[in-house]
Symmetry: C2
Subunit: 617 residues, 2 copies
C-alpha cells in the first residue's frame, strides 16, 4: 500500500485532451443557489418486506425523496439552502472499479469548493481498508489534474468491497469521528450501497454527525430501480465490449470457420450481454434471466446451441458468435444446486480434495461429468456476496466443449451433415474495465458527484444521489436524491444454510426485465440475428464526431422517468386540492369524493401483500 | 460458400460516417496523368542468395524500381502513360484478414474507372479457392458502398493462404486466362507475396498476359524491408491492442492484486508487442528476438519474470502487466527443438498418441515436464508455413504457471517474502483483427490500391506496390513499385527434414531489429516501465480529434526512406557525370577518379558474400 497515490503522471494526447473536457451541469445545479423540494416519505416496492426494512432502519426508512431545482423554480414548498459552512467530506471507492469513478470525486470537489473554498475533500487511500485505517489523501486541483475523465480507480486505489462486520462498521465510525467528517460518500454497486445504508443507520443511532451518501457506480448495470436508471460505467463497458464483439463478428464472417463463444462481465445479471447484443447483433446470446425463467438445464442450452449450429450448417454457414453472461453458471438449475452444495461444504471447512467425496449422489454424478478445468473452478472459494467466482469460471469453454461433443455425436448418427465444428473462446472483462470513460459516463459521474454535495448541504443521511431523464441531453436531466432504504427488498426464501442475504434487507441486483422494451427488441430480432449474420459494428468508443453522444440502447428505449411521474402525481393531487376548496359546489365535492374513492380502492387492492405476491418477484 | 458476398448491409452511425470518408491521394497520383520513372535494375540484400534467386526467377529478377511522379515533374527519363485501354483486373484476398483490406479493392476500383470507365474489377469470392474455382464478383459502386473504410475481408471472404502447389498455380493460370485478366492483384503478407512472385514468374514463362501485383497487407507488420516501411493493418491492430493493454494496466493499478499475462498476435515476429509496449508502457515485454539472440531458455525467462515480481514485491507492488508475442514459443531454443521433433514425427504420419513415445530422450523429458494443456497444444498440426499453430498455444498460461510455482518455491525458501502471486491470462487476437481500420490504414490501403492500377498500366509484372515516407502526411508520400524478388532471401540452414523454406527463395518475415531506434527506445525505458508503473493509455481508436492522425511509434522513429536515398544516390552520380564531362580539366578528372576508386573499393568489400556473412543474418 506504499504505492504513490494521486501523483501526476504522463498522459497520452488523447488522455490529455480528455483531461481538459469539462462535463456540463444541468440547469438546476448551475450557480451556487439550488432549491431543494421534498416529496412524500418513501416506501419500498417490496410490500411484503417493508416491515422488516422499516424495523431494521428506524432512523433512515421512510424519509422523503428530494428534488434539486433551479433557484428560480416556482415551487411552493421548496427551500433554498443559503448557508454554506465549510464542510469536511470523506470519499471511498468500494468494490470493483468502474469507468467514471474518478469523475464522482471531481464533481464533489468542485461543488464543495464553489460553495465554500474552505471545505475539504479527503479521499480514502486503498478503498474501504483506507477508511478503516484512516489513510487519507486530500483532494486538490493538482491531485485531480491527471485523473479527470480518466478510467480506473488508481487515483486512490481500492481493496475489499465491504463495510459489513461490526469491526468494519466501528472502524468506519471511529474514522469519521476522528476526522470530523460532515459527510462520507461511498461509491459502488448494490453491495456497497447496501453497506452505505447500514452505515447511515448506525451513524444516526450513534448520534455521529457524519451523513452517509451513496453513488451508483458499477459496470454491471444491476443497481437499477424506480429511482436509478443506470449506473456509472455501464455505458463505457457496453461500448468497449460491443466494439470487441463486433470485431469478432467481422472476423467470423471473414474467416468463416469458427464459432466464437464470448463470456462477458456483469455479475449475476445479464444487462451487459443484452446491451452488447442489441449493439452488435451477434448470432446468439444466452441470457441468464431467460435460462432462469424457463429453468433450462445445461443439456437444454447445449441442445439449443447445437440446433443453431446445425440450422446454420444447412445454409452452409460454419461460423458464428455466441455471447454468454458470466452469471449464467448460477442460473442453470443443476449447476446452481451443485454450487450451493459445494459452498455449504466449504463453509463447514471441508478441504477442496474432500469436497467431491462428500457431495450428494446426484451432485457427485454431475460433478464427475464436468471436465477437470471446470471442476477446479467450481471449487474456488466464493466471493464476499456468496456468489461463485464468476470471473474465474469458464462457462464459455464448458459450453463449447459440450457443443463440440454433441455435434460430433450427431455427425456419427448422420443427423448433422456439415463440416467440423471449431470453437474459439474469449472472456471480455478486464480489458474493458479500465477504459477511458465515455462522454456519458464522464457527465453522469460528475453530476452525481455534484449532487452528493447538495445532499450533504441539505443535511440528508442514508441517501443515494440520483439523476433521471438520462436518455435526454444533460440540460434536461433531473437531479434528486432517494433514501437507499427505499430501494431495498427482503428475500424470503432460503439460499442454503448460513447464506447472508436470507431475510436481511438489501439492495438486490436487478435482473433483465423479460417484460421490458429492451428484451422485447431482442426477442423480435433473435431469429434474424441467428441466421442472417446482420452484424453491426458500433466501432471503438469515440469522443468527438458521430457516435460520441450515443447512449446505451437499454437506456434509450426504456420508459423510466419514475421521479418525473411521482412529481406529476403530486401535481394532480394538488390540482384536486386547489379545485375542491371549501366553498366549491356540492356537486364538485361529490364528484371528487366518488372519483377518489374509486382510485383509492383500486390502489389499496393492488398494494396488499397478497396481491403483490402474485405479481412481485 | 453460399454466403451472399458483397451485399449491402446495415451500418452503425460510426460505420456509416466512416463509409463516407474519402482518403486523400498524394499529389503524384492526382488527376489521370502520371509519370513513371524507372530506376536501376534491382538486386537483393541477401548477397549470398542472389544467384539462387536470379536462377529461380529468370524473367522477373533484376527488374528496375519504378517511381510514380506528378505529370509536371521535371525528370528526364520519366515516361507518361498516355494510353489507358479498358483493363480486366482480378483481385484476391490471400491469408489472414487485416484491417484495411477492403480499401485496397476500393483504390484499384477508383483508379481503374477514372482512367477508363469500361475497365472491370473482378473480386475472387472466398479467397484463393475462389481464384482456383473462378468464382468472381464484379466490384461495383453498390458492392463497395458499405465496405469502404470497414474492417474484415467479408466483402469477398477468404480461405486458404497459399497459391503454391503446381495444381494451385495451374488453376490460377487457367483462371486468369479464361477470365482474360490483364492483371491479378494479390493482397497478403510474406507468404502470399512470395506466392505472387512465383505466380508472376510462371505467368511470364507461360507467356500468359496477366501481370501479377502484390500488396503488403498483414497485421503482423513483418513484411518489412528496404522498400516496404509498414503493412496495412499493423497500425490498427497496434492501436486496438494498445487500448486494451492500457485498460488492463489501469485495472491492475486500481485493483493492485493481479499480474496480467497478455499474449499478442503477430506470428513469428514481435513487432506488435514492441509497438504496444511503446504505446502503453506495461511493466514487461518478452520479445522473441531478444530471447532468440540471447538464447534464453524457458527457465531463464521464468527466472527473469520471477525476479521482476520479487523486486516489485519489495516495493510493495503486487500487480503488473507482462506482454508476450505469440511467436515466443518458437524462439525459446528447447521448445523450438521439441516442436521440430514433433513436426517431423507428424510428417512421418505418427499419430498424436504415439508421438510422445517416439521423442528423443531429452525431448521426451521436456514434454513430460510441460502441463497437459500445453502438451496438447504442441501436438496441433502445424500451419501451412510450417510454423506451430501460434494462436492456439497458450504460452502466457505456461509462463504464468511456471512463475507461480517458482514464486511459491521461493516463498518456502524464504527468499520471496511478499504476498501471494495471482495471475490472469489473456490472448488479444481475434478481437482486434476485425476492427474498423484506423485513418492511416484507410489511407495507406486506398493509395496502395491506386498504385496497383498504375503498375498494371505500366505493364509491370511481379511487382509490389510501395509507399515510402509514410511517417509524413499523405501529400508527402512517395509512390512506387519494387520487384518482389528484390525482397527475397534464401535460408541456407536446415529446418529439419523436408521443411519447405530450406534453400527456396522467399520473402522472410522481418524480425524486430535489435539495433533499431524503436528497440533502443524500449531498452532505455525498460527499467522505468518495470518498476515505476508509468502506464500510458493511448485510448480507443479515434477517427476525429486528438489521436486520430497519430501513427505507430515504430514508423515515426525509424529512419527508413530507402527509396528516397536510392534516388538521392542517383542524383549524386548524375551530378558527378555532369561535372566530369569531356572537356573538364585534367585535375577535376583525376580527383573524380581517385575519389570514385576509393568509393568503389569500400563498396566492393562490403558487398562480398564473405563480408556479408558476418553482418547479415
Amino acid at each position: 500500500m506504499d504505492v504513490d497515490y494521486g501523483l501526476p503522471r504522463e498522459l497520452s494526447d488523447l488522455q490529455n485532451k480528455r483531461a481538459h473536457y469539462q462535463p456540463l451541469l444541468p440547469p438546476c445545479l448551475q450557480g451556487t443557489t439550488v432549491r431543494v423540494e421534498f416529496g412524500d416519505g418513501t416506501t419500498t416496492a417490496d410490500l411484503a418486506g417493508h416491515h422488516v426494512i422499516s424495523h431494521s432502519f428506524p432512523h433512515t426508512y421512510g424519509q422523503p425523496l428530494a428534488h434539486f431545482l433551479r433557484a428560480t423554480a416556482v415551487v411552493a414548498d421548496a427551500q433554498i439552502i443559503t448557508e454554506h459552512p465549510a464542510m469536511r467530506v470523506g470519499f471511498v471507492f468500494s468494490g470493483r472499479q468502474s469507468p467514471g469513478g474518478h469523475n464522482v470525486v471531481w464533481g464533489i470537489y468542485n461543488a464543495l469548493k464553489i460553495h465554500n473554498p474552505k471545505s475539504v475533500l479527503l479521499g480514502f487511500v486503498g478503498g474501504t481498508e483506507g477508511l478503516f485505517a484512516q489513510k487519507t489523501l486530500e483532494i486538490t486541483e493538482d491531485v485531480l489534474a491527471t485523473y479527470k475523465n480518466q478510467g480506473g480507480y488508481d487515483m486512490l486505489g481500492r481493496t475489499k468491497d465491504q463495510i459489513r462486520t461490526s469491526e468494519q462498521v466501528n472502524a468506519a465510525l471511529v474514522a469519521c469521528q476522528t476526522l470530523k467528517l460532515d459527510g462520507l460518500v461511498i461509491v459502488g454497486g448494490v453491495t456497497s450501497n447496501t453497506d452505505a445504508a447500514q452505515l447511515a443507520e448506525t451513524f444516526a443511532e450513534s448520534k455521529c454527525a457524519t451523513k452517509v451518501v451513496g453513488v451508483p457506480v458499477t459496470l454491471n448495470g444491476d443497481l437499477k430501480n424506480q429511482f436509478v436508471e443506470t449506473n456509472v460505467g455501464f455505458d463505457t463497458i457496453c461500448k468497449v465490449n460491443s466494439q470487441l464483439i463486433s470485431n469478432v463478428c467481422t472476423d467470423a464472417l471473414s474467416a468463416e470457420k469458427y464459432y466464437y463463444f464470448i463470456r462477458l462481465m456483469g455479475r449475476k445479471a445479464s444487462h451487459v450481454a443484452l446491451e452488447c447484443t442489441l449493439q452488435s447483433h451477434p448470432n446468439m446470446v444466452v441470457l441468464g434471466e431467460e435460462v432462469a425463467s424457463s429453468k433450462l438445464t445445461l443439456f437444454d442450452i447445449t441442445t439449443q446451441i447445437c440446433d443453431a449450429v446445425q440450422a446454420r450448417s444447412e445454409k452452409d454457414k460454419y461460423h458464428g458468435v455466441i455471447l454468454i453472461p458470466e452469471g449464467l453458471v448460477e442460473t442453470i438449475p443443476e449447476l446452481y444446486a451443485l454450487l450451493q452444495e459445494i459452498h455449504s461444504l466449504q463453509r463447514e471447512g471441508v478441504s477442496p480434495d474432500e469436497i467431491s467425496k462428500q457431495l450428494s449422489p446426484w451432485a457427485s454424478a454431475l460433478f464427475e461429468f464436468l471436465p477437470p478445468f471446470f471442476r477446479r473452478q467450481l471449487l474456488l472459494v466464493p466471493e464476499s456476496d456468496d456468489s461463485a467466482q464468476l470471473s474465474q469460471i469458464e462457462m464459455e469453454k464448458l459450453l463449447a466443449q459440450l457443443v463440440e461433443s454433441e455435434i460430433n455425436k450427431r455427425l456419427k448418427l448422420g443427423t448433422y451433415k456439415g463440416k467440423k465444428f471449431n470453437a474459439i473462446c474469449h472472456f471480455f472483462g478486464y480489458q474493458a474495465r479500465g477504459s477511458l470513460p465515455s462522454k456519458f459516463d464522464c457527465d453522469y459521474a460528475y453530476v452525481l458527484g455534484y449532487i452528493c454535495y447538495h445532499i450533504l448541504a441539505a443535511g440528508l443521511n442514508g441517501y443515494m444521489a440520483t439523476i433521471t431523464n438520462l436518455k435526454n441531453p444533460v440540460n434536461k436531466w433531473k437531479c434528486g436524491a432517494a433514501p437507499i432504504t427505499a430501494m431495498m427488498s427482503v428475500k424470503q426464501w432460503s439460499h442454503g444454510p448460513g447464506a447472508r442475504s436470507v431475510g436481511k434487507p438489501s439492495i438486490h441486483p436487478a435482473t433483465v426485465d423479460l417484460k421490458g422494451r429492451a428484451y422485447e427488441m431482442l426477442r423480435l430480432s433473435a431469429g434474424n440475428f441467428l441466421m442472417e449474420d446482420i452484424y453491426r459494428n458500433p466501432g471503438p468508443l469515440q469522443f468527438e464526431g458521430p457516435g460520441s453522444d450515443t447512449k446505451t440502447i437499454i437506456l434509450s428505449v426504456e420508459d423510466q422517468d419514475y421521479m418525473g411521474r411521482i412529481k406529476k402525481l403530486q401535481e394532480y393531487l394538488n390540482k384536486v386540492k386547489s379545485i375542491v376548496k371549501p366553498g366549491c359546489s356540492q356537486d364538485v365535492l361529490k364528484a371528487a369524493l366518488s372519483a377518489m374513492a374509486s382510485v383509492t380502492d383500486v390502489l389499496s387492492v393492488m398494494t396488499t401483500p397478497s396481491y403483490s405476491s402474485q405479481s412481485y418477484i
